[in-house]
Structures are given as structure tokens and as C-alpha cells.
Symmetry: C2
Subunit: 507 residues, 2 copies
């Protein structure tokens, strides 16, 4: 069991495994207080943490400060989620001696933490998807010991964040081993393969995500692996929407593509627009009037990769630069970029698909000009399997669902609903609201598992497992399933005798 | 996309893919009526279907007749689940212009069918886990086109059931391609690897389940695979429970082990009892007074495999026969068995673990006699990773949670909760109630994925995927998320401004 782990990693996994039953036994309110303590501590340490993050990631102070707030809000949101208790999906089916299939026992079902989880953190959100980011908040909220594999892009920040979080967890009395940080991909893989680890989470590239998902699936005892990978986030804009508000759309688009130097998994990578609209000109006007400053890319590797993708795209047959943009490298090897926007006809896009469809991680987007009569609903599957988001921009009249093209638009919405995790209207996909109804996760290759979300409170279900209790004495039931319901959580109690009428309404 | 499929299978998958959007667009009430129509049609054809099933499986008329009823009940239960709508987990977070992280858009989230699904049916439940069994009911309820790979153990029954179901689906206006039946493992594997298939379900052996799960995970686009595999279903009985009601426990145990010739995934395979109790004698008495008839095993392969396991177990060092039982083969190669019960000390069980721990699929169970002071909570992980069920028999006093050993019993319940999907008290694990709170699925190798159930209404979530809509006009929202809520389903609507108070309760 321990032969693949170094002594140091063996100690890490052993501490997590030892913490598991004690942490699982904490009350939701206890864990809520621990999460809020971490949130408070991160905000108290904000100035120091942001200074380290700026140096390690090149992201701006405004962006990073906002990200600390978001990270704290996420932790506090999970605190409330925990105490509200709906996430437990507590179900109680009373016994029924007269049931059609014979005596029906008393059955009660809730969700329990799966056990120790490893979370591979992301580079592009050094707070919100890193050491104490959304996945970590969900894992701790669920009651699972957490091992974070730090991202190599911000090791010092990871250590500093871990120190802050550990102090808060200790101060609130959480068991030793509730949270630990490790460094290095090999260490992460070794931990992922250990039988005491019961689930994995990841935010990053398709290549690494697939590698880790395959490792998780091929363990002697396979475990769920929740990877959030790549996405090109298609946008569809109608001719009437452009006629109605070209300037507003152009400027929103540019902001979305250039924010955080385009290094967001929700950056709009492809925009399908009717051929011959004024949108390209409006984009040029918007770029000319606003200031498009250079942004540093996260690290030299990402910058070189973006430089290569940008050159390939600009040189592909049929591609026209709407905004050529730029990239330059400083003495430290860091790349500094301004946004590149190109356009291409649908025909040329098809011909050059090999050069164009792959995600360009950085400030670049491709307008694809579609001829009249194009079946928009059939378009994305031609090029791309799954995405985190899909967006529609409609005119005010089209939004009422009473225009001549309503059927066509509904078909497009239905198609996008099958292809993405979040469908947006008249907005931009960057900036993922942290709310109970959020869904951040779509079909492969957007994620390795599209049955859950990595943002929002529903993420807690990733790290829990349903367990039913049959004819259990009250003294041996989890609190969530007891008749006295001490924490007052929502219990779905089937009415007595309801099972005798199943299906009778539908003849 | 089609190069691995024969023309016949290509047609099957193409029909399912074509049916997907049309079937997904049916209303829950429409699908409810279709499920009830199938239930009615199966009950109308009961006599004919049971006759075929008796010949193909050797199971008794009483068992098979009851199983048709259970299958119909399952379909009807899903009909009600559909129309109640809680399974959609509809969430509405209203827009909030003053949110801490900036303007929060309107976000609404529901669940949509994943698309075509293949279900590999089981041999031991020719109705309830076969062509129109629980997985199939959940898949159709979710709105996913269904392809069933028939089990080779009952091909004629599979065809007859499919004919009945197809007629009901056609009569209720479901799209062509909503349900199709295929035969042969190679055909099943070919369909499972097709990119148009979005999930897989399976009930059967660990070896085949693992093979199929690995295929699903290693596809270019991986898909979820829900396999229900093997289980030994540990039972723990306290000394006081035996003192209180040895006769009742012995006779319940014998019934559970011998029913359906022990060919149930929930058969109690291991019973941990304190050394030196009267339980073995009580079992012999119960066997002597009741009639233990011979039962035919499902097919010659299963019978030969059981014969081999039984011989290995009877000959293992330290094993004593409580009831030796028997197996004989008829001229057609069918095996006929009576129950075998053995006992072994915990020490001998440890020594002979290699011979003893593997599931014996048939009427056999092993009593393991534990010395005083054994740490029962630590026992199962020594031998077995995950199980469908775990059972405790307590005395009346112990059930109150006020005896000297309560702490120890609570620790055992907590340990079982981590190791199984259903924890039972003072009952037997065979006979899985079909209810909303049921959980049939536990950690590997009980299942390939323990985050859901294969019995009960929660199974529908396996075949759905969450999708969020941001700032969507009412005209483009799914019915479940519209303000007018035409079907009256439960919507979790966040109160205005609630997000401003997140976490403030927990300082």
C-alpha cells in the first residue's frame, strides 16, 4: 500500500486517512465555522498574499484583490450551504406493512463524505481555483480531509495560503491532517494512486487532466476524478442583435477576451456571426477608443505556447486580422500581449479547422462569418465536442420568442444545452458567478465528468456518497435522518401509504 | 465514427441518436404515461413471460411472478417521480446588482438527459434488472434513448419483453429509436465505444464490469459507467442478539442465503459472530425443521463455478461445516443445490483468506467466529474493500443506544457507513425495497461508481446532467426554470439579497 510513496508522502496520506473519521464526525456547523475562519484569515492576510501573487503570476493587483474576496465569499457560501443542509438530500421512506411487494422496511438515505481527496490546483486563478479555492472549499465542506497539490506557477503563494488556512483550521479545532499541501507533479500522481485517497479534483489543461483521469480510472480501486479542462466557449450573435447594439457587443467582447490576458477557461474563443455585419468594424472602433494595455502572461511556457498558436492562426488560409494584437518577450522570458481578433469565413474555417479549432490560451478570439441559411444548431459538433459555456446574443424582439426565427433560435438553445454546462444570453462567459445555481462544467473535453460543477454550492456533491439505513434504531442514525431532526435540515418524508398509488395517475 | 460498427449496429446507434432530441423534448408527463403503459403491458403478458423465464433461468414461478410485479412497480414509481419533478433539482438565483463580487446575473439550473445510453442487463433478475428493469426505467424516465444488451442467459425472454415494451412505447407516441435491444457481448462493446453513446449501465460480475468500465473510461471522450458488481454483504451479530432470539435469526439467515438459490448480489456472504454462541446449533435446528429444497442454479457455468468455490471453501483449513449442503448436476448440465453453511475462527479465516474471501455466487455463507475483544470496526477493510450492504443484529437493549457497548457499536456503524451503500439493522440484506430513499451501490468493487444508486428513484440522476442558464429570456428557458412554472415542480428560489449575508452567522 505504501511502496510507491516516499516516507514524507506516506506521512501525508496517513495523516489524512487518520483525520477522515474524526473530520467526518464534525457537525456541519463546526465545519461552517472553520470555513468562515479561513475566509476571514485570507482577507486579513490579503495585502501580503496579493503582493506575492503579483510577483509570481503577473496578474494585476485589482484582479488579485478581487479574487481574494471571491475566494472568501466561496468559503462563506459553503458555510451557509452546510448549515442549511439541503445538500444532504435527506430522504425518509417510512415502513409500510401493506406494500405491493411485501413488507416495506423503514429506509432513510443521506450523504456522507467519501474520505481523503487530492485537489490539483490551477495556475490561472492563484486564489479562487488554488489552495483554498472552490474545489478545496467544497472538499472541506463535505467533511473530507484535503491534500492540495500546489501549482508550480505560484509555489510561494501556495505555501503562504496554506499557512494561513492551517492556522485557521487549528484555531477552530479541526483534526490534525484535515488539510495538507504538497508540491510536485510526481508527488501528486503518487498520492492520487494511493488506495486511501477516495476522489480527485483538477483544474488545468486537457493533456494533464486526461493523464490524471486515466490514472484515477485505472487504479485497482477506481475513484471519481473531477477535472475541469479546456473550452473554447462558442458565441452566436444574430444580425438583429448587431444592428441593435454593435458598439455595446463589441466592447463587451473585447473586455471578455482581454481580461486576465485571456487566460480564463471561459474566454469566448469563437464567435459565430452572420457574414457582412458591422461587428468587425465596431470591434476596431472599440479597440481604437479604449486603451488595450499589454498584459503579462502567467508564465514563459504559457506565453511561448500562446505565441505559437497566435502565429499559426494568423497565417492560416482565409484568416483576416480584425485586430492584429501583439506579443513581446522581456528579458526574464515573460510574454506581454495585447488582444488579437481575427475573422474567417465558415468555408475557410472548415478548410483550416486543423489550425484553428484548438483552444488558444491567451487574449485571442476568432470571428467565424456564417452565410445566410447556415444551420447554427448543427455547427459546434462539427468542430468541438463539449464546452463549459455557450452564448447567444439576441435582439430585444428576438428575446421575446415571437419573431420569425424563434424556432431556429430555440433549436440552437437546445443544441447548446446538450453541448455545454452553461448557456448565456446577451452577456459574456468570463466571470463565473458563485451561486447555488451555478454550473461550471460541460461535456468532454470541457471536463472529465460533466455530472457535477466545480463552481457553486452544488460542487459539494462531488465529494459525498449516498448511504441508506434500513430499520435503524434512532440511536444509530446520522443526525440528518433522526426523527427529532436536531439540526432542522430539510427531510423529504414520504407520506404514509403513498406507495400504494404509484403510477395510478397516468393511465 | 462508424468504422467499428456493423451496418446493423450502426443503424441501431443512429436511430438512438436521432431519437435523442425528440425524446428529450417530451414532457415528464408524456414519459410517465409511456412508463406506466410498459408496466401495464408487462403485467398483461405476465403468464407468457414467466413461462419463458422459468425455462430459461430455472427460477421458480413464485419468484418470477413477484419479479414482474416489482418491475411494473419500479416503472410506475418512476412515472410519479417524473411528474413530481424534484429530481430536476431546479434552482433559481435571482439577479443581484449589489452583490459583493459585482453584478450577479440571473442564474437558473436544472438537469437534462445525457443522450443515448447502453444498459447491459443481468442474468439473475430476468425482469427487475434486465430489459425493462430498474436501470432501463431510470434511463427512459430521464429522457435518454435506451439500447439494452440482452443477457445471454435469457435471450428469448429478452426478445419477448422487448416486443411488449416496444408496442407500449409506440402506442404512447414515443419517438422511433427510444428503445432497442441488441444481443452479444461484442455488439455491446462496439456500441459502448461509439461517440454517440453518453453513458453505460451494467449489472454483473466484477471481471466483466471492470472490463466495460475501463472501455468507457478509455474512450477518446470518456463517459460515466455505472456497474453494479460483486458483494459479500457482511453481517455482524452481537452475543446479546443471539441470546435474545437465536431461532429467529437462524431462520431469517437461512431464508436469505437460500432464496433464489443464493444468486443475489445482496446475499449475506459472511456473518461475524462471537465465538461460542448457540447460533450454529440454531441454524442446524432451523434447517432440520424447515424444508430446504434443491434449487436449480441459473446456468451450467454459474453452477460449475459455484461447485468449485464450495469445494475450495469446505476444504480450507479450519473450516467446519454447519450445514454441508449439496450440489448435483442433471443430464442437461444444470446444477441443483441446497444451502451450505460453514464456520471458521477469525484466526483460521485470516490464514485461509485467499480461499475464503472471494464471493461464492450461490447458496453458501461463512460464519466467522470472533474472539472477545475483536475490533469489529476494523475487521472488514482487512478482507474486503467495498460492499453493497452491511448488517447489524442488536438486542432490544442494545438498539436503545444505552448499553455498555454502545460506543463500540456506533464505531462499527460508522465504519460500515464508509464501506457499504446500505446499513441494515435486525434484518437481512436480500430483498431490496424499491423506494425513493433506497441506496443500492457501494464502494469498489461493489460498484464501479458509488456516487449513485441502481435501485430507487435516485437512479434517475445517473442519466442526467446539470445545465445552467444565465440571464435567459423566459421564452428560451426549460419549463422547469420558467417563472410561471407550468408543471408546478419544486423550484429552490434564493431570496433576494440573501447572498449579502453569506457566512455572517458563523463568526
Amino acid at each position: 500500500m505504501t511502496d510507491t510513496l516516499t516516507p514524507e508522502l506516506e506521512a501525508v496520506v496517513a495523516r489524512a486517512a487518520t483525520a477522515a473519521p474524526a473530520f467526518a464526525a464534525t457537525t456541519p456547523e463546526t465545519r461552517a465555522r472553520a470555513l468562515v475562519a479561513i475566509a476571514d484569515a485570507l482577507e486579513d492576510a490579503k495585502t501580503r498574499l496579493v503582493t506575492i501573487a503579483m510577483r509570481e503570476t503577473g496578474l494585476t493587483e485589482a484582479r488579485l484583490t478581487g479574487e481574494v474576496t471571491r475566494t472568501a465569499v466561496q468559503l462563506r457560501l459553503f458555510a451557509d450551504t452546510l448549515v442549511d443542509g439541503g445538500y444532504l438530500d435527506a430522504r425518509i421512506d417510512p415502513a409500510d406493512p401493506d406494500f405491493a411487494l411485501g413488507v416495506r422496511p423503514d429506509i432513510r438515505r443521506t450523504h456522507l463524505p467519501v474520505g481523503p481527496v487530492i485537489n490539483f490546483s490551477a495556475s490561472n486563478f492563484p486564489f479562487a481555483f488554488s489552495v483554498m479555492g472552490g474545489d478545496s472549499a467544497a472538499i472541506l465542506a463535505a467533511g473530507c480531509p484535503l491534500i492540495v497539490k500546489a501549482h508550480s506557477g505560484h509555489p510561494e503563494l501556495s505555501d503562504a495560503t496554506a499557512e494561513v488556512a492551517t492556522a485557521a483550521l487549528t484555531a477552530t479545532g479541526m483534526p490534525d491532517g484535515t488539510f495538507q499541501l504538497i508540491h510536485g507533479r510526481e508527488a501528486g500522481v503518487a498520492v492520487l494512486t494511493d488506495p486511501r485517497i477516495k476522489a480527485g479534483a483538477f483544474t488545468g489543461s486537457i493533456a494533464v487532466g486526461r493523464l490524471l483521469a486515466d490514472i484515477a480510472a485505472s487504479r485497482p480501486a477506481p475513484i471519481p476524478f473531477y477535472g475541469e479542462l479546456g473550452s473554447v466557449n462558442p458565441v452566436f450573435i444574430t444580425a438583429d442583435a448587431i444592428t441593435e447594439r454593435a458598439t455595446e457587443i463589441a466592447s463587451g467582447f473585447l473586455t471578455s477576451v482581454s481580461g486576465s490576458a485571456g487566460q480564463l477557461c471561459t474566454k469566448p474563443g469563437f464567435v459565430f456571426v452572420p457574414a457582412g455585419t458591422e461587428l468587425p468594424a465596431a470591434i476596431q472602433t472599440a479597440a481604437g477608443t479604449s486603451d488595450l494595455p499589454e498584459h503579462r502572461l502567467l508564465d514563459p511556457r504559457i506565453a511561448r505556447s500562446f505565441d505559437e498558436r497566435r502565429t499559426t492562426i494568423l497565417n492560416a488560409p482565409g484568416v483576416t486580422a480584425v485586430l492584429p494584437g501583439s506579443i513581446r518577450f522581456d528579458d526574464a522570458g515573460h510574454g506581454w500581449a495585447t488582444p488579437t481578433i481575427v475573422s474567417v469565413s465558415l468555408d475557410a474555417f472548415r478548410t483550416s479547422a486543423a489550425d484553428l479549432v484548438e483552444e488558444a490560451f491567451g487574449p485571442l478570439s476568432i470571428l467565424v462569418e456564417t452565410p445566410a441559411g447556415t444551420d447554427l444548431a448543427a455547427l459546434m459538433p462539427e468542430f468541438y465536442e463539449g464546452n463549459l459555456t455557450g452564448t447567444l446574443h439576441l435582439s430585444t424582439a428576438e428575446a421575446t420568442g415571437t419573431t420569425a426565427n424563434t424556432t431556429e433560435l430555440r433549436a440552437l438553445v437546445a443544441a447548446l444545452s446538450q453541448q455545454v454546462g452553461r448557456v448565456l444570453f446577451n452577456g459574456w462567459s468570463t466571470g463565473v458567478a458563485v451561486t447555488p445555481a451555478q454550473q461550471h462544467g460541460g461535456p468532454w473535453p470541457a471536463t472529465t465528468n460533466d455530472t457535477s460543477t466545480s463552481v457553486g454550492t452544488a460542487a459539494i456533491s462531488r465529494f459525498m456518497r449516498p448511504v441508506a439505513y434500513q430499520n435503524a434504531p434512532q440511536a444509530f442514525l446520522p443526525a440528518a435522518l433522526q426523527d427529532t431532526n436536531p439540526a432542522g435540515i430539510p427531510q423529504a418524508i414520504a407520506p404514509a401509504g403513498e406507495s400504494h398509488t404509484w403510477g395510478t395517475r397516468w393511465h
